[in-house]
């Protein structure tokens, strides 16, 4: 399968590409893993506030060694630092701002995305299930959902599919999909995904060959 030989973008490239979707004044929630790297690529020309669902708004960078505080962590349970804008709320208030549509963008990882915007990222039947955490709440409440994932699984199986084979995190919730090969976006949640960008050295045919989902060509 072509997707296994064409490498395309790195993890850092994916994070940097997602960072370009952020706008001045946005409140943003970053998922665990590659999405966390997005914070390293936010343009100094814009002001973005990061929200963490455990109740911290205005996340700062990792702390200096002598400033580590076990009571200051992000949703990935990593120690972080405060900024002058930082505030704390309870988990109920934190998810109130998520569910209530007050967070502009969430960047999440995925196991599968379907052409109708369905997302699966929490459970593989037959394997130990760790639980959905806050992912279902985020996709149900945040205004715009950007997914970062590899284009194909380790065995070459397409991850951008006609329908998800795994249990869903949410139905019709993905607005933008950034893979190591390409960027797909939809105008709204009634519209199909359109191929918007290709990673360097990747052709439209490469993408077509390892994608199961139907999508439009820009």
């Amino acid at each position: 399968m072509i997707g296994r030989t064409v490498r395309g973008w790195t993890r850092e490239d994916l994070a940097a590409r997602a960072a370009r979707e952020l706008r001045d004044g946005f409140y943003v929630n970053l998922g665990i893993g590659i999405p966390t790297l997005v914070s390293n690529f936010i343009s100094p020309d814009i002001d973005v506030t990061l929200q963490s669902e455990n109740g911290m708004i205005g996340l700062g960078p990792y702390p200096l060694e002598d400033r580590v505080d076990p009571d200051i962590i992000n949703a990935g349970k990593e120690t972080v630092s405060e900024l002058t804008r930082t505030s704390y709320v309870s988990s109920a208030d934190s998810f109130g701002m998520i569910r209530g549509g007050h967070i502009d963008v969430s960047v999440l990882g995925a196991m599968e995305v379907a052409e109708d915007g369905n997302l699966a990222n929490w459970m593989v039947p037959g394997r130990m299930v760790k639980g959905p955490g806050g992912a279902m709440d985020l996709v149900a409440g945040v205004r715009r959902i950007i997914v970062l994932m590899d284009h194909v699984a380790k065995d070459g199986t397409p991850k951008f599919r006609k329908t998800c084979s795994l249990p869903l995190t949410g139905r019709n919730v993905v607005d933008m999909l950034i893979t190591n090969l390409a960027v797909f976006e939809r105008a709204d949640r009634q519209s199909p995904f359109v191929l918007k960008e290709l990673a360097p050295g990747v052709s439209r045919e490469d993408v077509r060959a390892c994608t199961e989902a139907a999508y439009g060509e820009a």
């Binding site: 702390p63 704390y88 109920a92």
Partner: protein, 235 residues
């Protein structure tokens, strides 16, 4: 006035424990967990517990201690990924789990404490979480009915508390603690510092004492860090 401050965790829990009870515990991961009261539950040996908590601790720390002693029958949680003993008991059929999306769990606890038996949310619609639950349409969109949660006992951790049971939490250790404090038929708090009468600025009390029946000075404040991440000093 009724004395809310107890000498230690054992005396604070006396008369509140019974086999098969439901206990709600504050905390997110290992942050803001009532370490002292969890130790006292292990010591008390109360069993067949249903535990409402966002996470299940790690092996040998936090709620993991109660799992190791097989005192837990069921967990109601959003994420239990950090605990091998949990996984072993679950796969062996010794432990039941009710998964609940994190925001829905926070709201179920809040609702239970506020006398609200259920609420509708978009979260989980069209997924396994909504199976068997009532759906209702509002303005053409589907919402799922989730039930409020009430516990026989709620245990929380706060940075400071006074003799009236007023509590103040610390930074992101607040997390589930304020809602959990409201959902117990009895609520016991452990505080890192007992402050004198009148010490609190009334505007800075996060949980008023109406929700807290008993409190103790915490004797376990290890605050284990799950992922210690640091940056280097900029050159």
């Amino acid at each position: 006035m009724a004395e809310k401050i107890f000498d230690d965790a054992r005396s604070a829990l006396a008369g509140l424990l019974f086999d098969g009870m439901t206990i709600a515990a504050g905390g997110f991961g290992l942050c803001g967990i009532p370490e002292t009261l969890i130790d006292a539950l292990v010591e008390a040996g109360v069993g067949n517990l249903t535990i409402i908590s966002n996470n299940a601790g790690v092996d040998n720390f936090g709620l993991g201690k109660l799992l190791r002693t097989h005192q837990v029958k069921k967990m109601i949680s959003s994420y239990v990924g950090e605990n091998r003993e949990f996984e072993r008991q679950y796969l062996a059929g010794e432990l039941e789990i009710e998964f609940c999306p994190q925001g829905t769990l926070a709201e179920r606890i809040r609702a239970g404490g506020a006398g609200i038996p259920g609420f509708y949310t978009r979260t989980g619609v069209g997924t396994l979480i909504a199976e068997g639950k009532e759906l209702k349409e509002f303005e053409g969109e589907s919402f799922v009915l989730e039930r409020g949660l009430v516990a026989d006992l709620a245990i929380v951790k706060a940075r400071r508390g006074d003799r009236y049971g007023n509590l103040q939490f610390h930074k992101s250790a607040r997390n589930f603690n304020p809602m959990v404090a409201t959902c117990g038929r009895a609520t016991v708090a452990e505080v890192e510092e007992l402050v004198p009468d009148g010490w609190f600025d009334p505007d800075a009390v996060h949980t008023p004492g109406v929700f807290v029946q008993r409190l103790i000075l915490a004797t376990s404040n290890e605050k284990r860090i799950e992922r210690r991440t640091v940056r280097q000093e900029e050159a």
